[in-house]
């Protein structure tokens, strides 16, 4: 179980001339519990801090505040030994498989370096071990081993980086926008593959996406977290959040998804006041969505709402929302 306790990440923005130096909050006071075998989707628009959060969990950047707990033990990733240990706990399937393979090395060494370093394979059995990995994701192992990344197709590379992430036998897998670069026709196959492999190995799967439909598909039985400007504004069971969204931001996102079939029910339209993503700096004490929120009142600008469990209209107790005036919108029938 990985727990995030009040994780924040701030970046200093250099000021020039009369503009003073400001601090940009990429991730703000995030609490999240992620069990083995649990599927969580993190949804948010570009720049909301979801990739920064993924990098913190993966140990690539250290948080400015807060702590990262593994099985209730505080975990720091500073030394090489700690990083190497963490690599066997959490792995990431990156967004762009081509860019994340070293172009001048053959697949054999791209795959093999980590196995050798972590002593998960001896040198004489390395080829055999890599071939097993490649067979697992349905690649022709004999042919692939001696190829360079540019000689593979997009789909093959995607499967290869999944195989590479799984080769260290992690307990948790983060997929950072892993299908956003793919053709729509290939997406479902890869998503199914993620679900299958994660269920088989009882992996925790954290799927980062900007697309509610992908989030719903991946974590249908899991959880969904909606991020806005570094804050988790809504968190709960996927079906609950999608059918009864409470935060105005989630509501506006869901009501913006176009309907094709015409049979689904949808919530009434919530249109934000502006379509520009704001910026929240450390010195402001307001609701991050207040500038765009169509329901904002004065205290939204004065006090920042915290993520609290919502108990209105008999919804489940795991549904959390960060809004002073959270309420379910009326459902309207789409005819």
């Amino acid at each position: 179980m990985i727990e995030l306790k009040n994780i924040s990440k701030q970046f200093d923005i250099k000021g020039k001339g009369h503009k003073k130096k400001r601090t940009f909050v990429a991730v703000n006071q995030v609490n999240l519990t992620w069990k083995r075998g649990e599927f969580i989707s993190i949804v948010g628009e570009s720049g909301c801090g979801k990739s920064t959060l993924a990098k913190i969990i993966a140990g690539l950047i250290s948080p400015s505040e807060g702590s990262l707990l593994l099985d209730e033990v505080e975990n720091k990733i500073n030394t090489q030994a700690q990083r190497a240990r963490w690599a066997k706990v959490v792995q990431v399937v990156p967004q762009d498989p081509y860019a994340s393979l070293n172009p001048v090395r053959k697949i054999r060494s791209s795959m093999g370096d980590a196995l050798l370093y972590h002593k998960m394979a001896k040198r004489n059995e390395l080829d055999h071990k890599i071939e097993e990995m490649l067979d697992l994701v349905g690649l022709n192992s004999k042919e692939t081993l001696n190829k360079y990344p540019h000689q593979l197709s997009g789909g093959q590379r995607q499967r290869l980086v999944i195989a590479r992430a799984l080769s260290l036998d992690p307990d948790f897998l983060i997929a950072d926008e892993s299908v956003s670069m793919m053709d729509v026709s290939l997406r479902v196959g890869v998503l199914d593959y993620f679900k299958k492999i994660a269920s088989e190995r009882e992996l925790g799967l954290l799927f980062i996406t900007h697309d509610f439909r992908i989030a719903r598909y991946i974590s249908f039985d899991g959880k969904i977290a909606v991020m806005y400007l570094g804050n988790i504004v809504e968190f709960g069971d996927t079906q609950e959040v999608l059918s009864h969204p409470l935060h105005p931001y989630t509501q506006s996102l869901i009501s913006a998804v176009p309907l094709i079939a015409g049979k689904e029910r949808r919530i009434e339209e919530v249109i934000p006041k502006s379509f520009e993503v704001g910026k929240v700096y450390a010195d402001r004490q307001q609701c991050p969505f207040a500038d765009r929120c169509p329901f904002a009142r004065t205290d939204c600008y004065e006090q920042k709402p915290l993520l609290k469990t919502y108990n209105g209209n008999g919804s489940s107790s795991t549904h959390q929302v960060a809004c002073h005036y959270a309420e379910a919108r009326e459902l309207i029938e789409n005819v």
Partner: protein, 325 residues
């Protein structure tokens, strides 16, 4: 097959450049025949006799049309004969070049490799500390060192180390007390004499490599595969290997071209230190309008640059698997 075509093209290019230089050097004002002819006339020798004497001394056919001279030269060059020097009468150009080439080759090769090594190290360092003042310090030192012309650096070093503190000799490639050959005293003397020229090559050369290496390293550092390598918990040495093998690729062509240019030597550096290399030979030949020597030097420089480029292209297909031949 493709490479055979490229080699034929390269030979053709060298031939065209050599032909162009044949005409270009003869367009320069001042002809050696004219100079010597006027000298003899001034000594009171009749015009007719003076012309004969010039023709015999310089071994040229008088008033031969330029095109005839070109055909004549073409016949020579096909047989691998670059002709004879005009000023050092009767000495074949090939021999002059082969006497001068080793000096240039050794000094420039050492200078180039040292400057490449220093430049690459500083470039990587600068890329790693790119958000700190150290990085802009390295970049600025590199730019300034690269921007100062070779002859200024050469004269400055000569003045400081040879005139002010007498640490290094001011001219020549070896001391007159030693005999050229493979013996200890000669090699020591040669190393001692080439210190200042090599230092000049390094000082004027490393800046460009530093800036190129920094730009290249910074872009590789941002690549996803570097992040993916850290993600897999690989040790620092492996990650540096990933970085190095990718960021040094763009510098490779530049290095090969510089190795090619090396055969030309540096007119300025060799001139300043009176170093008996190709650069000095060329400078003297230009000053005395020694056409065959000039042409010989130009053909050598052109050919080496063109073939170095060809080798670079070929080697690149081996170094970078993304480029196919």
């Amino acid at each position: 097959m493709k490479w055979i075509n490229r080699i034929i093209m390269a030979i053709l290019t060298v031939f065209v450049v050599a032909s162009l230089t044949f005409f270009l050097v003869r367009l320069m004002p001042g002809s050696p025949v004219q100079v010597m002819y006027l000298e003899l006339i001034q000594k009171g020798i009749p015009a007719n006799q003076a012309m004969n004497q010039v023709n015999i001394i310089l071994n040229v056919i008088p008033n031969e049309p330029l095109f005839q001279q070109y055909i004549h030269w073409l016949g020579q060059i096909i047989h691998g004969d670059m002709g004879q020097s005009i000023q050092q009468t009767g000495v074949p150009v090939i021999r002059l070049i082969f006497n001068a080439l080793p000096w240039t080759l050794i000094t420039v090769a050492i200078g180039l490799l040292i400057s490449f090594f220093i430049g690459v190290l500083l470039g990587v360092l600068s890329a790693f500390v790119r958000e700190r003042w150290t990085s802009s310090l390295i970049d600025n030192i590199g730019s300034v060192a690269h921007a100062i012309p070779q002859f200024v650096t050469a004269v400055a070093l000569l003045y400081i180390f040879s005139v002010l503190v007498h640490w290094f000799p001011s001219s020549g490639a070896y001391s007159i007390e030693v005999f050229p050959g493979f013996n200890g005293p000669f090699i020591m003397s040669f190393l001692y004499h080439m210190a200042l020229p090599v230092f000049t090559y390094v000082l004027t050369g490393f800046g460009a490599w530093t800036l190129q290496m920094k730009a290249s390293t910074v872009s590789v550092l941002k690549e996803d595969f570097m992040m993916a390598a850290r993600l897999r918990g690989l040790k620092q040495n492996t990650i540096m290997g990933y970085l190095g093998s990718n960021s040094i690729l763009p510098l490779f062509t530049g290095l090969m071209l510089s190795l090619g240019a090396m055969f030309g030597g540096s007119v300025f550096i060799e001139g300043t230190y009176a170093f008996p290399g190709i650069g000095n030979l060329l400078a003297t030949a230009i000053n005395t309008r020694d056409y065959p020597v000039m042409q010989g030097c130009f053909i050598l420089t052109t050919a080496t640059i063109i073939f170095a480029n060809l080798i670079a292209d070929f080697a690149y297909t081996k170094l970078d698997p993304r480029i196919t031949d």
